[in-house]
């Protein structure tokens, strides 16, 4: 692993498209800014681990509500799904 020392305001460049900026350093954490093309996904690792764990929990449920829709969906609420495509 490459280890670098940086001060607030200093940057690290990764390749031609990605820059990390040290915004703030506090006793309990570091605030980073990341400049990267929008095509590059950026995640907090623990979120990916949580979703991986939840996916595992969501497999092969052995029971499933059968008649749930009858009481609940007589009058399905008209909630519109709107997607925004960012280009």
């Amino acid at each position: 692993m490459l280890v670098l020392s940086r001060k607030p305001g200093q940057r690290i460049l990764i390749g031609e498209d990605i820059a990390l900026v040290i915004l703030d350093v506090r006793p309990d954490g570091v605030k980073l800014g990341i400049e990267a093309p929008r095509s590059i996904p950026i995640y907090r690792e623990e979120l990916l681990q949580e979703i991986r764990h939840l996916n595992q929990q969501a497999t092969q449920p052995m029971s499933l509500p059968s008649d749930i829709e009858k009481p609940l969906l007589k009058d399905p609420p008209q909630v519109k799904l709107s997607l925004q495509l960012r280009r």
Partner: protein
């Protein structure tokens, strides 16, 4: 070339599944994950099977692993507002041209001991392109969403629930196959 495409479209696949028994489907009906369900990178091809007529639940049955199935739903069917932005890399991966090209589903976790406490993962929805049938699990790192959104807000819903018994009977496989075409027409 047309002939080749046609023969591919009519190609059948037979899958042995734990829940539905033997399923036969058109290869062209398969949903293919170009961004995998996290932790299930080995399973990229799935069938969508509607649970029952008018049910808010769909089965996502793997054809690469017959024992693997998920339950999907759409939060809007439970009155849960859900507006999201599809990340650019997923737009590319799914070849999305218009917002209307896709349907958004969420994976449902159903606790064995308290099924009414079922939750949907709104931070990791499954996006399916209705025409190309390409799919992706996308990750929404936003405080607006929760990984465990309860589908039932009120305790009174419990009284309305009836539960399927665990063992699918012989008819279910047949029903499931009929349901495939219905699900496909909806997606």
């Amino acid at each position: 070339m047309d002939t080749k495409l046609e023969s591919q479209a009519n190609e059948k696949i037979v899958v042995q599944t734990e829940r539905f028994g033997e399923l036969t489907a058109n290869v062209s009906d398969l949903v293919r994950f170009t961004l995998p369900i996290l932790g299930f990178e080995h399973a990229t091809r799935f069938l969508l099977i509607q649970h029952k007529d008018d049910s808010p639940f769909l089965w996502l049955q793997s054809v690469d692993d017959g024992d693997l199935a998920f339950v999907l739903t759409q939060p809007k069917l439970f009155g849960i507002p859900y507006t999201l932005t599809i990340p650019d890399h997923a737009i590319d991966a799914l070849e999305i041209q218009h917002p209307g090209d896709v349907e958004i589903y969420t994976l449902v976790s159903i606790p064995d001991d308290a099924p009414t406490a079922m939750t949907a993962n709104l931070m990791g929805p499954v996006v399916i392109h209705c025409k190309t049938r390409l799919a992706a699990q996308i990750i929404l790192d936003s405080t607006r969403f929760s990984t465990k959104t309860p589908l039932f807000q009120s305790a009174s819903a419990e009284a309305d629930l009836q539960w399927l018994t665990q063992n699918p009977n012989a008819n279910q496989s047949e029903q499931a196959q009929q349901a495939i075409s219905q699900a496909i027409s909806k997606v």
